[in-house]
């Protein structure tokens, strides 16, 4: 087992191990889950530390390749191919950290623990496996593997009265999205003429002989909308707030934080570079759909009375920035989009984790019932304030870096959309985030919450971890951007093969990061 495969095979093996433990040994089961996710996190951080900028062939490091299914008469060749470049490196590390945090907050689960931890570990392994795979078959395979536990976890351990409805809605929406994307991926396999699911091979084949225009204009929309549904692209987003509202905390953290990035990653890894002409027809439309996410879902979030629904809608709104960054096809914008993917993963996990902790303590998430909680729960309260401020893009947090880069990058391509998005994000985001802070934490204390206790030392671990990650990347974004940039540049040279006038200028990223840092230290 190589370092990279160990990161996601460990949780999967641990899931098998949990299946073999008698269900009364709850502590052991939890310990196995915590140990596996912790080990996987440590390995992911090691991977991050070992990843250097030295250029390699095809751009992927830590490559691992085996034959899996190879039937020449059917022209079927599916291989096990793993590797990381700057883009999925950040996602894997983020996913592993969030998975550990999710295992930490799973203490709220009080029944059927064995099944729960098995599913949690399968989900973790699936997510990380999907990001590590360089073969589209396994890319899809691992995503499905992670998706199904999501549905079951929402159904069994979910909250609220309409969790059955939410379960079926999220199941049907996400399966539809996945199957549409699968159609696109299979069509890509066939139309490319390369008869391979291997991303590296496909890239080579497309470089040598671009896909015919007809094929591109068929496959790209399949991928865009298939992946779009998975990422809650407006107007296919309605499953997200509902599903996250009903989901158990850890599931919401893992799905909103990590699994949802699968669609964006797929679009960036497969859709944009392999089908530049198909993409150019759709990216402008995509940019306008982003406004639906950023502005419309922001407005919807403003009206929410339930904290989880608010976070769910705001998480949908943040997806708009990533789409906008990808649509810009500029080095700064796409690099920013990748930074937002990572940053939002931490942020979504943090906010859902905090709201889960709040629900566990109070039994409700209706914001009007709260008030003045900051005095009773100073740690959770302070963490919530920080999360909310990160959510509305306060400098110092990683989200600011990414969103600022996206806005810089998209300015040249879509000035109108960028203007509206900036307004939408700053004003609308600030309104609902700050209003939530005021309703929950400030104001007069209510007598029913007088006995509320703050999180215990152990319970603080996941939140400290996630906040630390957000702050670290916020003040030192080069840690990530230096690794992302070469990989994004490689993708953009392919994507801009037809539209040479938009070619990125060298130094764009560094300039933007410097600007971002300058703004980070200046008061607004």
């Amino acid at each position: 087992m190589s370092l990279l495969s160990a990161i996601f095979l460990l949780p999967l093996l641990a899931a098998l191990l949990v299946l073999c433990i008698p269900r009364n040994y709850k502590f052991v089961i939890r310990l196995v889950a915590l140990g596996a996710t912790l080990a996987s996190m440590v390995l992911a951080l090691t991977l991050f530390a070992k990843f250097n900028a030295a250029p390699v062939e095809n751009g992927f490091k830590f490559v691992e390749k085996h034959a899996w299914v190879s039937v020449s008469t059917l022209k079927l060749d599916i291989g096990w191919h793993l590797g990381v470049d700057g883009i999925n490196l950040g996602l894997i590390v983020m996913g592993a950290i969030v998975a550990f945090a999710a295992a930490c907050v799973s203490r709220e689960i009080k029944r059927l623990e064995k099944e729960y931890y098995t599913l949690l570990l399968v989900m973790t392994g699936g997510i990380l496996g999907a990001f590590a795979s360089l073969n589209l078959f396994f890319f899809y395979f691992f995503h499905e593997l992670a998706l199904v536990p999501t549905f079951i976890m929402i159904g069994v351990w979910g909250h609220g009265e309409n969790r059955n409805y939410a379960t079926f809605k999220i199941t049907i929406y996400l399966s539809l999205g996945a199957l549409i994307a699968l159609a696109g991926l299979i069509a890509l396999y066939i139309q490319s003429g390369a008869n391979t699911f291997d991303i590296v091979e496909l890239t080579k084949a497309v470089k040598a002989r671009p896909l015919p225009l007809a094929a591109q204009s068929l496959i790209f929309p399949l991928l865009l909308f298939g992946f779009g549904i998975l990422v809650s692209l407006w107007p296919f987003h309605t499953w997200a707030p509902l599903g996250y509202g009903a989901a158990p905390t850890a599931t919401a953290m893992l799905h909103a934080g990590v699994l949802k990035k699968f669609g964006l990653y797929g679009l960036l890894r497969v859709g944009i570079p392999l089908m530049p002409d198909g993409a150019s027809a759709w990216l402008e439309i995509l940019a306008f759909l982003c406004l639906g996410n950023i502005v419309y879902c922001g407005l919807v979030a403003m009206r929410q009375k339930d904290l989880n629904l608010l976070i769910g809608n705001s998480s949908v709104a943040h997806m708009g920035f990533i789409f906008l960054g990808i649509a810009s096809l500029s080095l700064v914008g796409v690099t920013g989009a990748v930074v937002v993917m990572v940053a939002h993963g931490f942020l979504a996990a943090l906010t859902f984790g905090l709201s889960g902790a709040l629900r566990e303590k109070t039994g409700t998430l209706e914001m009007e019932k709260f008030g003045g909680l900051l005095r009773q729960i100073p740690f959770l309260g302070a963490a919530l304030v920080m999360a909310m401020l990160a959510g509305c893009g306060l400098p110092g947090f990683a989200n600011f870096v990414g969103e600022a880069m996206v806005l810089f990058g998209s300015w040249r391509a879509f000035p109108l959309v960028t203007t509206l998005a900036a307004w939408g994000a700053l004003i609308i985001g600030a309104v609902y985030m700050l209003r939530a802070v005021r309703n929950i934490l400030h104001g007069p204390e209510k007598s029913e919450w007088a006995a509320l206790k703050d999180a215990s030392a152990w319970a603080k671990v996941p939140f400290v971890l996630l906040l630390a990650a957000l702050l670290l990347l916020g003040v030192w974004p080069r840690l990530l951007t230096d690794k992302i940039q070469p990989s994004v540049a490689a993708i953009l040279t392919m994507a801009n093969a037809k539209t040479a006038d938009k070619a990125p200028r060298p130094g764009d990223v560094k300039k933007a990061v410097d600007e971002a840092k300058q703004r980070a230290v200046q008061p607004r």
Partner: protein
């Protein structure tokens, strides 16, 4: 004449006769041992099939009416394995027959012999005889619980519709013989290839369509599916399991022979028809399964939907499609038999076939709960189980044809709709297992050792075909080599 080729079938028939004879010497309380004896016998035949034949060359017997090639051998082993698992289930289930336990085992073995002959049919005569052997034994097996009205009702329905479809089949064979002058598949193919006029004969096409009716009935494909839900619900559970796996696969192998050996030059004329049948079958099965509360009826509709997915492979008419059919069937065998074995145990325990009987199963028997969950997940086509890779291969074959003709993209879209709907009803079953309220009976369900073994085989099969498909797919590709396909 090479009679030694039918040694496997002969062994199964003899085994059935031995069970019947031995019944005279066995006291009523020991009848179970006969069932285990039959299981053991089938296992021996299955093992022997690996030593006796390797399927690399095509052998003929009985004036070319009987063929033994890779495809035949693949399906024979398939049927033997299915019968093995069904017999284990039947032995467990035999307590609920008031009499005739040994006859149940013997009839299952005779049906198995019919299926094995069907796998080797290279002549319309053998096709008809083997199908009749299967159908007639199933008339009895379906109505075996003769004090239960549902069982009798199922038997009568199966009898009437089965006889009707046999009538169509015979009529179709007569028309084909009348226009082509031969019953043999190879000769028919030669005549079609050498005589362009024959291929355009309306009478021949009408005959082929009527044969398709007979085979569609076996597979429970729309519009010949009407019998399936009632018969599945009313039959004893082992019969239902054997119907849904064995009988369906017999229809599949015969259709494969018909299209791939007998009328390869005409097969493309059936493309649109098969596409329409596939789409209709998937939608009918999936949509009708939504409101079902009876487990066996639900699986009846799900088996109709599965027939639709198998027809996708026939609609594309190439090697990729046919090997995908075989792969899907292999996964289907383990999945469906796992589901029916669990249902047989649960129904015996609870006395009801409603989905709510599964309530609390997770606490009552984790093994049964896990197995049924895996079966449902596999049927729904979710990795890493067999159903996923099978559906993936079928859908990939469909999309590959889309380059030639865009209508295949619509066929894919229909299949996707079917998969989505199926998620709903399969997850309803999973839901009933894990989070239904109101389960009152929480006593553990005992599971006997043979049943445990059968379940272990099914789980291993589902996982193996899902995680390591290479070898099994290679076998499937080898098996369809003898067909004349693109």
């Amino acid at each position: 004449m090479n009679a030694s080729l039918i040694v496997l079938e002969l062994a199964v028939v003899v085994l059935g006769l031995v069970v019947l004879v031995q019944d005279w010497f066995t006291p009523a309380k020991d009848r179970r041992t006969l069932g285990y004896g039959a299981v053991l016998g089938v296992a021996v035949v299955l093992l022997y099939s690996f030593f006796a034949f390797d399927g690399t060359e095509t052998l003929y017997a009985f004036g070319n009416a009987y063929v033994l090639d890779g495809l035949a051998l693949w399906f024979k082993r398939f049927f033997l394995l299915a019968a093995l698992l069904v017999l284990i289930m039947a032995t467990e289930f035999s307590d609920s027959f008031e009499s005739g336990q040994s006859e149940f085992f013997a009839l299952t073995l005779f049906a198995l012999a019919g299926m094995m002959f069907a796998a080797s049919a290279n002549d319309f005569m053998l096709l008809f005889v083997s199908l009749e052997l299967i159908t007639v034994t199933f008339y009895v097996l379906v109505s075996f619980l003769r004090r239960r009205v549902e069982s009798l009702e199922a038997g009568v329905k199966y009898l009437i519709l089965g006889a009707l479809s046999s009538g169509f089949l015979v009529y179709g064979i007569a028309l084909i013989f009348g226009s082509a002058g031969t019953m043999n598949f190879n000769e028919l193919a030669d005549k079609l290839a050498n005589n362009a006029g024959l291929a355009h004969k309306q009478l021949l096409m009408a005959g082929v369509l009527l044969v398709l009716v007979g085979l569609g009935f076996k597979m429970a494909a729309v519009p010949f599916q009407i019998w399936a839900p009632d018969v599945y619900q009313g039959s004893p559970t082992p019969t239902t399991a054997f119907l849904s796996v064995g009988s369906k696969a017999a229809g599949v192998v015969l259709l494969m022979r018909l299209l791939g050996t007998a009328i390869p030059d005409l097969a493309f004329n059936l493309e649109k028809l098969l596409m329409a049948m596939a789409a209709g079958t998937i939608l009918y099965g999936s949509l009708c399964a939504i409101p079902q509360r009876n487990l066996k009826r639900l699986l009846g509709y799900s088996s109709i939907a599965s027939a639709g997915y198998l027809l996708l492979g026939f609609a594309v008419m190439n090697r990729a499609g046919s090997s995908a059919i075989l792969y899907y069937l292999a996964g289907y065998l383990f999945t469906v038999l796992a589901a029916f074995t669990v249902i047989a145990v649960v129904v015996k325990e609870a006395g009801a076939e409603d989905i709510s009987a599964l309530g609390g199963l997770a606490q009552r028997s984790p093994l049964l709960a896990t197995t049924l969950t895996l079966a449902m997940v596999s049927l729904a086509g979710i990795p890493p189980l067999a159903g996923f890779f099978g559906k993936f291969l079928l859908l990939k074959a469909v999309i590959a044809e889309g380059v030639r003709w865009h209508a295949y993209y619509w066929l894919f879209a229909v299949a996707v709709v079917g998969v989505l709907i199926s998620l709903y009803y399969y997850f309803n079953v999973v839901k009933a297992i894990y989070w239904s309220k109101g389960a009152t009976d929480m006593t553990p369900i005992p599971v006997s050792v043979p049943t445990r073994l059968a379940l272990a085989v099914c789980i291993a099969g589902m996982l193996w075909l899902g995680i390591n498909p290479d070898g099994a797919l290679e076998l499937a590709v080898e098996a369809v080599k003898s067909l004349k396909l693109a």
